[in-house]
Symmetry: C2
Subunit: 327 residues, 2 copies
């Protein structure tokens, strides 16, 4: 081997090894090359590079994520609704009156379509009847048991297996870059907390959601928090910026959603000074997941899609941008 | 020098240097040796030593601190009341009716005693009148300006100079041991956040307090959160465990307070499984600060003192346990 050949071989080996290590280190392997992925990486590099005019100190790197339809699937109904139906069935023996009373009667007859025909009011009534009356600790056990065993009617998978692999990678990528990741969901806060840390790496204190009131009581000398059938906070639409301010107290640097219910959160984020990042997940993949947007009753994306296009927010085309959907 | 002398000299030098470095590294220099300090250190070492039966993983090391009377002084009235009085004076030109209307009239006449004679109702009325009506961003600016310039009527110091040096050391010591430190105060959340990070090292998302409602609006195309004259949450007494569950979602490992308003927070903490730590700051130093407990209208410590004694919680005797009060 001549010195020149040796140098060439070394260079080739080094280049191959560098490429391999770069590839191994790709933090977003489920994201195809394309404008969505490029916009994420460009934003993160821009705000984390010291000396960059857009540099943001770690304490201010707040990223907020909707949950249903953004971090996991939400069809044919929000997964929490399946939990509610299962709770109605489990509690039915203690409520003989439910056999005659809608929407409970329809759930017990296996006709959830009719049960949900009453819209948000019917669902809220069932949430109250099934989510209240226990202590916070009992409720946590009920959710933990359910989420570990219940399966999605179409896919047969555990619900926690229907999270989006590309979003898990995105959460980890942001945290590796000093971001603090929060869930800001219309779903029930105590329905998400028991598994959000294990599945998303998001601790309970970084979960924001809708809530019912609780009351502190001493029972048999032991303090408990009792869940009451009374709405405390609805963390949806214009409630999302309110929840963010109340709970985080700092405007997010980046916001991720998938529906019109997330629009105000994205608007609030985008209106901050300096570099901000807003992203909508657009459900375009009927083969691997579901395809829906402007006409869907669950996760409708209509005004949000218009605003994203008008303002140049990132829109993820699930079919084109993600090479994997669920883990 | 004989070898033995050399060895002795080396040993002496090493011992001196080790002692000096131990002293330099004392994380709690303002805490005198005594049972309070010993109980803190023993607890922290116990729950952080891997292999200890009481070991707690970092994610669960939640420490909650009351603010008024626990992290900073609270006499002769809660410092937020001085802010309220100053806001009443600043806003008086826009409210000519206040000249005739209590409790505002007394504040404007410099007679805050009479103004406060109306009790919590009078104070709440002034809080509503002075804390609402702005956007969250405007209110933050107002607080930031005030806290940077207003001075305590007795000491002439900035209010942020009346924090407790031993508690600053305790906060830092806990964080150095993997604890996440939270404020859980009856005071206004948006009154504390603008300076809590700079003064206590506690970021806004780890401040829990009383709050008024806010509303999301688009003003001239710009989203704002408007502060409304309506109570959202009172983070005091039985409200403290409720606030902790709502906002942290995990039972604290350690809780620090100074009054009966903190009792439920300490009870809730103490009732958790495994090793837990509860501490009351007892105001016993009339020379360097104030001395008050069972009879005080501000920061009354009566039932809490009995319960602390009965249950073996740590009670800090400010006069004996702290060699410095304010920085």
């Amino acid at each position: 081997m001549t010195p020149r050949t040796l140098a060439g071989a070394l260079l080739a080996a080094l280049t191959a090894s560098a490429a391999a290590s770069l590839e191994a280190a790709d933090p977003l392997p489920s994201w195809n090359a394309g404008p969505a992925r490029r916009s994420i990486v460009a934003f993160v590099e821009n705000v984390t590079r010291e000396g960059s005019p857009a540099y943001v100190p770690p304490a201010e790197r707040i990223a907020v994520f909707d949950n249903d339809g953004t971090l996991w699937s939400e069809q044919p109904v929000y997964f929490q609704a399946f939990f509610v139906f299962d709770r109605v069935r489990a509690l039915a023996p203690q409520h003989p009156e439910w056999k005659e009373k809608e929407p409970f009667a329809s759930v017990l007859n296996g006709d959830v379509k009719t049960a949900l025909a009453g819209g948000e009011h019917a669902l809220a009534e069932m949430v109250m009847a099934t989510h209240a009356g226990t202590t916070t600790e009992e409720f946590e056990r009920i959710v933990t048991n359910w989420i570990g065993t219940a399966r999605h009617p179409k896919t047969g998978r555990l619900y926690t297996e229907m999270v989006y692999q590309p979003m898990l990678e995105l959460l980890a990528y942001l945290r590796a870059n000093g971001f603090k990741t929060f869930i800001v969901s219309g779903g029930g806060i105590e329905f998400m907390r028991p598994w959000a840390e294990r599945v998303y790496g998001i601790p309970p204190e970084q979960v924001i959601g809708s809530s019912i009131k609780t009351r502190f009581e001493i029972r048999d000398g032991k303090p408990v928090l009792v869940r009451l059938p009374e709405i405390d906070f609805v963390d949806d639409k214009a409630g999302k910026p309110v929840g963010i301010q109340m709970r985080i107290g700092r405007r997010p640097l980046a916001a991720f959603g998938n529906s019109d219910g997330d629009l105000q959160m994205l608007q609030w984020t985008a209106a901050g000074s300096g570099s901000r990042f807003c992203l909508y997940v657009h459900h375009t993949d009927a083969d691997r997941e579901w395809a829906y947007d402007r006409q869907s009753s669950i996760g409708r994306l209509d005004k949000g899609l218009d605003e994203a296009q008008a303002r140049g927010w990132t829109v993820v085309d699930m079919k084109k941008d993600w090479n994997r959907i669920h883990p």
